[in-house]
């Protein structure tokens, strides 16, 4: 972490230099992440909680031989909603700000590379770390569920894994935007956790209160929930895994009736926007600000 060699890596000699810079940085970021405590702790927590959810949902059937994967999916979706955004936001928030704090950022900027390469490299490295954490966690859940006798299509597990990764990318990108804006790492991480709290609890609770108090129409309710990437992840995974959103009552029925096959595209669009827009903003901020 303290020294960084940008000496050309023989394995990476062929790609052009911008890509090489990005990939080298991504590797460094991944290595740092894997060696750091936060990665270990989050991965462990995610896996252990996932296993607990799996055990409980397998035990809930009382050995009747009937296990509703719906319930298990719901539990895992819930867990992903809690843990993955927290993991991604805090990783993203810590990334640039801590480098700035330690003077690393000015050192990196003295190298022949531009800020967007730096940003992208860090983004890719952290994304790979998050992908590893998610697939380890959900993969061990699938093993436990299979061992407990759940007979289901592994496709749903892959969907869940991929969508959780999409969510992680979006939250990572928001975290990095926070990180470029903040002066100190502690402020960045604090802001990241605040944003997490807003997205996980406050916005949903506010929307719920609005739905009851203002008698929001279901169209409005559905549109409003598309703004929150966590809700998008939830609806998308229900749509992909169970292929029916009517689990979500009138608003879900409305979504299916009105948009049908378009839903995948809509959800994907929302998620991609949450990945791309904050990252672009972050790159603008980073190139305008002094690295100190």
């Amino acid at each position: 972490m303290t020294t960084l060699s940008l000496a050309p890596n023989p394995a990476l000699r062929s790609p052009p230099s911008a890509l090489r810079n990005t990939l080298t940085l991504a590797r460094r970021e991944l290595r740092d992440a894997v060696r750091s405590r936060w990665f270990l702790l989050y991965t462990l927590a995610f896996t252990v909680l996932g296993l607990a959810v799996s055990f409980v949902s397998a035990a809930g059937t009382g050995g009747s031989g009937l296990s509703g994967f719906g319930r298990t999916t719901a539990g895992l979706v819930n867990l992903v909603l809690l843990v993955v955004p927290l993991m991604a936001l805090s990783a993203g928030a810590a990334s640039i700000a801590s480098d700035r704090e330690r003077g690393m950022l000015s050192y990196l900027f003295s190298q022949p590379m531009n800020p967007s390469e730096l940003l992208l490299g860090k983004f890719l490295g952290l994304a790979a770390a998050l992908l590893a954490a998610i697939s380890l966690g959900l993969g061990s859940c699938a093993l436990i569920l299979a061992w407990k006798g759940l007979r289901t299509n592994p496709q749903s597990m892959f969907w869940l894994c991929g969508l959780a990764f999409m969510l992680a990318l979006g939250m990572l990108s928001v975290g990095m935007l926070i990180s470029t804006l903040a002066r100190r790492a502690s402020v960045a991480v604090g802001t990241g956790i605040f944003v997490w709290l807003m997205l996980v609890f406050v916005s949903d609770l506010a929307l719920m209160a609005g739905a009851v108090a203002l008698r929001l129409r279901i169209e409005t309710l559905f549109a409003a929930s598309l703004v929150n990437p966590l809700q998008v992840f939830k609806m998308w995974s229900l749509h992909a895994v169970d292929a029916n959103l009517d689990v979500l009552g009138p608003a879900g029925l409305y979504a299916v009736e009105e948009y049908g096959a378009l839903l995948h595209v809509m959800f994907a669009g929302c998620m991609v926007a949450w990945v791309v827009v904050p990252l672009l903003l972050a790159s603008v901020v980073l190139s305008r600000r002094s690295p100190l």
């Binding site: 972490m1 460094r28 050995g63 719901a74 697939s135 993969g139 559905f222 009138p250 029925l253 009105e258």
Partner: protein, 475 residues
């Protein structure tokens, strides 16, 4: 787009009043039954042989494709001697049976007209004691239509509707004033309803209904026995309306979804017994609207398994006098819901010392008598909110839902009244009845999928430890 909006609005209304909305639909076309025949007077090849046959004769038809409309006016046994296709050429009815005691067996009847006003049917029976057996009926508006044909037997037919919009489809099977008919071993798919009108003492057993609106629909039909059927992916599996004395046992009701989406619906039905059925993955396993209507005989639900439904049993607040015991409620997102407000005090969730098995029961059984030591009552704040404001289902499975439920548990002031109480909850599920004979899928694919994910994750981590990183490893 506006029409879709309207549909969505209607859909949300349907959650409250599903039955009334769909009901007049049947009454109109059927009220003028029987209509005049559309079978033409010119005779086809089979028609000529039928005309020449003595009453009571047995005809065996040679294999081939026959383009004709057939009318059977006298007692006859007519059988296909191989693959015999009767093609209606896309117009009118195809086979009309007006004589009593006709046996019609082994044919493929296909391609009726699509005139809903004339109710074009593949096989229409207008006389008693018909036997319709082993036929394949495909690409039809109405499949088999019995009008005042009591004591008939409809057995082992396969009936498939036309690929039409649900509003333009006809009924796969319809019985109109056809008492004591037996309907068994048929497969009915892609139709509107399989429906019984004013038919007493009918037996419906071992049939399969798929991808239709109502898998089986009873209107004013008393003393009907419905056993060992399977209804999958319909809007409603079995819907009973205004019928008395119905026994429903050993049926499988699976994945019946959509705006109504009930495994079993009971509207103003009396003296019914629902025993040993399996309801899985429906929007609501059972839907109870004003049943039983007369309070002297309780509605009885026992040994059923309701698993993985969005709602196990939905009660309209008017429902009273039901006796629900020894059932399994396994992992339904809401085990019991009351549409609108109100409680279920007028229904009882145990009989003697047998309650139900609830997968969400949190108590324990210290004396090992198989019955939980604490009563089971359902009172979660979020469920209570959802019952009142259905659009809040959108927030299901989110951490915010858990936050609301936590508040409900922690703050007594906002804790809702329990909807119902089971005094003697069972600790173990009762044996699950009506399970499919064999489930072909195994746990292997899931295990393999999990292994792939774990390997992939750890592979990613090894990527950076890779010694081939060379000088890069000097970091």
């Amino acid at each position: 787009m506006n029409r879709l909006r309207l549909l969505a609005a209607v859909a949300s209304l349907l959650a409250c009043v599903p039955a009334q909305a769909t009901q007049p639909d049947h009454a109109a076309p059927s009220a003028d039954a029987p209509t005049t025949s559309t079978v033409p007077t010119t005779l086809g090849e089979i028609g000529r042989r039928v005309a020449a046959a003595e009453p009571g004769a047995t005809l065996v038809i040679e294999p081939g494709v026959y383009h004709e409309h057939l009318r059977l006016t006298k007692p006859l046994t007519i059988r296909a001697g191989g693959k015999v296709i009767i093609d209606g050429g896309g117009s009118g009815d195809i086979v009309e049976i007006t004589g009593p005691d006709v046996t019609f067996q082994g044919f493929t009847v296909r391609n009726t007209g699509i005139d809903l006003d004339k109710e074009n049917a593949a096989i229409r029976v207008l006389a008693p004691r018909a036997v319709i057996k082993d036929n394949i009926v495909e690409d039809v508006l109405f499949g088999i239509d019995l009008r005042e044909a009591p004591d008939s037997l409809i057995s082992n037919n396969r009936i498939g509707g036309k690929a039409l919009d649900i509003a333009r489809r006809g009924d796969g099977l319809r019985l109109w004033r056809s008492d004591r008919t037996i309907v068994e071993d048929n497969v009915i798919h892609d139709g509107r309803d399989a429906i019984l009108w004013y038919s007493k003492g009918v037996v419906v057993r071992r049939n399969t209904g798929l991808d239709s609106r109502y898998g089986l629909h009873l209107m004013f039909s008393d003393d009907v026995t419905i056993t060992d059927n399977e209804f999958t992916r319909n809007s409603v599996g079995i819907y009973l309306m205004y019928s008395t004395g119905v026994e429903i046992a050993g049926n499988r009701l699976i994945q019946n979804r959509g705006p109504s989406g009930y495994g079993l619906g009971l509207k103003e039905t009396d003296r019914f017994v629902v025993r040993g059925n399996l309801m899985v993955g429906n929007r609501s396993g059972i839907y109870i609207d004003g049943s039983p209507l007369a309070p002297d005989v309780p509605g009885e639900f026992s040994a059923n398994t309701l698993a993985g439904n969005d709602v196990g049993i939905t009660f309209l607040p008017s429902a009273r006098g039901n006796l629900i015991y020894a059932n399994n409620f396994i992992d339904n997102f809401n085990q019991i819901a009351v549409a609108g407000r109100g409680n279920l005090d007028a229904n009882q969730f145990w009989k003697g010392d047998a309650g139900n098995f609830w997968s969400d029961y949190t108590g324990y059984d210290q004396n090992h008598d198989g019955v939980g030591d604490f009563v089971h009552e359902s009172a979660t704040l979020f469920e209570d909110l959802m019952d009142r404001e259905p659009s809040l289902r959108l927030f299901l499975f989110s951490p915010a839902q858990q936050a609301v439920e936590f508040v409900g548990r922690a703050v007594p002031a906002v804790r809702p009244e329990p909807k119902f109480t089971d005094e003697v909850p069972l600790m173990r599920p009762v044996p699950v009845a009506a399970l499919p004979a064999s489930s072909s899928s195994t746990r292997m694919p899931l295990a393999a999928g999990g292994a792939i994910l774990v390997l992939f994750g750890s592979g990613l981590l090894r990527l950076v430890r890779d010694p081939a990183g060379g000088p890069g490893g000097a970091l």
